[in-house]
Each structure stands twice: as C-alpha cells, then as structure tokens.
C-alpha cells in the first residue's frame, strides 16, 4: 500500500472512531426542508435546531466569561481556562493576595497585580502596558532565595509577545498575562514565602522576519534565519507562539541538517544573536502566604 493510501486509512479510522458516538439524525432532511421553506410543522414554525444542552452550556459559559471579566481578580482571569467552574473560581478568588506593584520605564509599565498561592501552585497576574511589540524573556522565580524546583510550568508569559504585537491578528495589548508554577514539594499551609520575580522585556531593534521552521529543507531554514540576522532583523517562527529564533552563528558545531532548534530564551542570546534590545528588566520581591 502506498504511503498516501496508508495515511488515508489511518486518518479515516482515527476520525471515525473519535466521532463514533455521534449518530446521524434521521429527520435532518425534513428539518432542513422545513427551514428552507419556512414551513410550519403542526402550526409551529420550524426553527433551527440548537440543542437545549448546547444553549444551556453557552449561557453558562458566557455567564462565566462575563462574571470572570467583571468580578474576578487579574490572576484568576489569567487562570480562567484552567478553572473548572464558578464554584472553584470563587474558592480560588478567596485565596488571592493583592500586590499592585508597578514598575515603569519611559516605554513600558509592568504591574504585578496579584497572586494565587496555595503552597503547591504559584500564579502571578501581570499587566503590561506598552506601545511597542515586546518579547518577554528570562522569566524566573525564586522562593526563599532558591530557584523554584517546579514540576511543570502551566502557563508562562515566556515565548509570548505583549504590547503592540507585530501580529495584527493577535491583539496582545488586550491579553491577560501571567505566570504559573507547580511546586514539586509543596509548602505547608500558612507558611510564608519570600518570592522574587525576574523578567526582561525585549524589543526587536529593526523589525522581524518570519521563518517557516517546519519546512522540509532544513538547510534552507537555517539560511533564512541567518539571512534575517545578517539583515539586522529579528528572526521569528511563522507559527504561534512566534518564538524568536537564533541564527547558526551562536554555535560553531551546529548541525544544519537538523530542522529544530530549541528556542534560546536567555536574554544574552536574544540580544547578542537575534538583534533584540533590552527594554526593561524587572526584579520584584514580595511575601506570599501559602493559603
């Protein structure tokens, strides 16, 4: 069997299995004809079918979105896509610790709005106001003078653009930013943590050049990254989250037949090799209680 036919078979099997629980509606044709003719059905105008469950879910979800937007703190809104329901959101809201720490330069203002800390999960809500496209990098958190030994970073502002994004489809200025860490060894409830946040805002010196990092010809990809760098531009991935790419000059023994590069997020590399400049570096220290 040729490769195309084999892929066809695999994709069909996968998608049909995934949707196997959905039964075709035996009355769909009559319903569509009723809608098309604007006909009546037993004296009642046939309306478009929208399941009651879907309507209820939509109303609840929209209510939740509106409620989150209106009633919840910044960090809870940042965490909203990881929160199961309003009850959990309310419970977490009660554990939010306001911070309101503002850091301003001539071109940007960063505000550490608030924090959620239950001993295991540490999340910070961070507001960023700036007119320039800003790349957030070098974000690190220390707790009690030690770097966090974390299991996963559930949602980080790293690899994200803020401010006036170079991507028109992403209104980054409206995005809620934040950072979330999950501790390998939770702190006991009631214990106080001395937290230090480090974060650097970088901006492209002369604009950006998009590179397709999934193209088959890896050497061509490296050539495009290197050409952007040589032209004084900041090479970035054409795909979200548009991470900044580092040209091959950063490493003498780089194998250009390899298609992927691990995005280098240390500030020095980005400044030295990606034609970026440091806009602002923030270091904030504050106390949080494990609630």
């Amino acid at each position: 069997m040729d490769e195309y036919r084999e892929n066809v078979k695999k994709v069909k099997k996968a998608l049909e299995q995934d949707a196997a629980f959905i039964e075709p509606n035996p009355f769909l044709a009559q319903r569509v004809l009723g809608m098309a003719h604007g006909a009546t059905n037993g004296g009642l105008k046939v309306k478009r079918k929208v399941s009651a469950g879907l309507v209820l879910a939509l109303v609840m979800l929209m209510s939740a979105v509106v409620a989150l937007a209106c009633n919840y703190s910044y960090v809870i809104r940042f965490l909203s896509d990881r929160i199961e329901d309003a009850e959990q959101a309310q419970r977490m809201e009660g554990m939010v610790q306001p911070l309101g720490m503002e850091f301003s330069s001539t071109t940007a203002t960063c505000t550490i709005e608030d924090a959620y800390f239950d001993g295991k999960t540490l999340a910070l809500g961070i507001g960023i106001q700036t007119e320039r496209p800003v790349y957030l990098s070098g974000t690190e958190v220390q707790v009690n003078d030690g770097w966090i030994d974390y299991a996963e970073n559930g949602g980080s502002i790293e690899d994200m653009w803020a401010g006036n994004s170079p991507y028109p489809q992403v209104d980054a200025a409206e995005q809620i930013h934040g950072i979330e860490y999950t501790f390998m060894e939770p702190l006991p409830k009631g214990e106080t943590a001395n937290v230090t946040l480090h974060m650097t805002l970088l901006v492209p010196q002369n604009g950006v050049a998009e590179v397709d990092i999934y193209q088959e010809d890896h050497e061509a990809m490296w050539a495009q990254i290197d050409a952007a760098y040589e032209a004084g531009l900041t090479p970035i991935s054409a795909d979200e989250p548009h991470e900044v790419l580092i040209p091959s000059v950063w490493h003498d023994t780089l194998d250009k037949t390899q298609g992927y590069q691990g995005p280098l997020n240390d500030v020095d590399s980005l400044v030295r090799y990606a034609n970026m400049e440091e806009m602002y570096t923030l270091k904030a220290t504050f106390m949080l209680e494990a609630k």
Binding site: N7, K10, L33, Y214, Q215
Partner: protein, 171 residues
C-alpha cells in the same frame, strides 16, 4: 391519481438523497474541526441548508461530496471564528466523552494529534486524507494556492510526526 411534481419536489428529493449519502461523513468532518458534538450537528444542518439554497447554482464541476465539503469547511470556519468560540474553553476531559468499546489507542492518539493542529494545518489534513480531495480541489476550497496547500500538508506532516513518531505517520 398521478401526483404532478414541481421543481421544488425534485430539489427536495435531491436534498434528501444528499443528506442520506453525506450526513455521516460531514458529521465526522465537522466534529474533527470543531470538536464539540452540538456545534458539529449545527454545522452539518447549516451545510445542507446552504446547499439546498444554492442547489440551482451547483454546476457539477466537482463531485457532490466535494461541493458539500467546501460549504461545510466555510461553515466550520465561520463558527470557529465567532466571537464566543474563541473565548470558551474547548478542552474536553475524558469524563466528558462517552465510552467507546474496543477503542484503538493508536487511532485515538492520531485523532488527538490532528485535533491539536492549528486550524490551517488541520483543514488540509481533513480534506486531503479524510475527504480524499486533490490539492487543486483543496486550494479552491480554502482559497489558497496549490503550492500553499502542499506546504501546509508538509507542515502538518512534520507536526504529526513530531507528536506521534515518524513510523506512525508517513510524509
């Protein structure tokens, strides 16, 4: 007594035939795109409604299935880009899913990997491998050049191979 059928009767009969022949296929396609049962069902209903209204304009320069697929993709795109869709958490937990007997784990993994593709890559995989459309047909359907379709298929291959391992998906 002989019943005299007008033009509407022919169109109605054709719609019934189309629904019979293509509903299951389009449900799977729309569910793969939208990943929510209610939305997929609404998308299929809207697809057939639009098809019925445009039936007279269908010049049969492609197969009926290809024509319906074009409509369905446009409907899914509209739904996908509606204001609320982008704000709502689309993640489905295992508890939300009905139990499927004898599920093939490899197939489930591939479905999940396809579901995680960005929309523009997901579209070409669905059209190329599920609907078995040619690259020129896909190009016409999603409004890009054939070379762009080819490029997106290669990108999707790379992402799927990255997610599944090279031997699990050819490209």
């Amino acid at each position: 007594m002989e019943v005299v059928k007008g033009p509407d009767s022919n169109r109605d009969a054709r719609l019934e035939h189309m629904v019979q022949a293509h509903q299951a296929n389009l449900l799977t396609l729309c569910y793969a795109y939208l990943h929510e049962r209610g939305l997929a069902e609404d998308a299929v209903q809207e697809t057939f409604l639009r098809a019925y209204k445009a039936m007279d304009a269908f010049r049969e320069d492609c197969s009926e299935r290809t024509w319906l697929t074009r409509i369905a993709i446009n409907v899914c795109r509209s739904m996908r880009h509606s204001a609320w869709f982008t704000r709502v958490n689309r993640r489905v937990t295992p508890e939300d899913m009905p139990e499927i007997a004898h599920e093939d784990a490899e197939a489930a993994e591939l479905a999940e990997a396809i579901g995680r593709l960005p929309d523009k890559l997901k579209e070409v995989i669905l059209l190329y491998y599920y609907q078995e459309m040619t690259m020129p047909e896909i190009a016409k359907t999603i409004g890009v050049t054939v070379s762009m379709v080819s490029k997106r298929i290669k990108k999707a291959h790379a992402k799927l191979r990255g997610a599944l391992g090279k031997e699990d998906f050819h490209g």
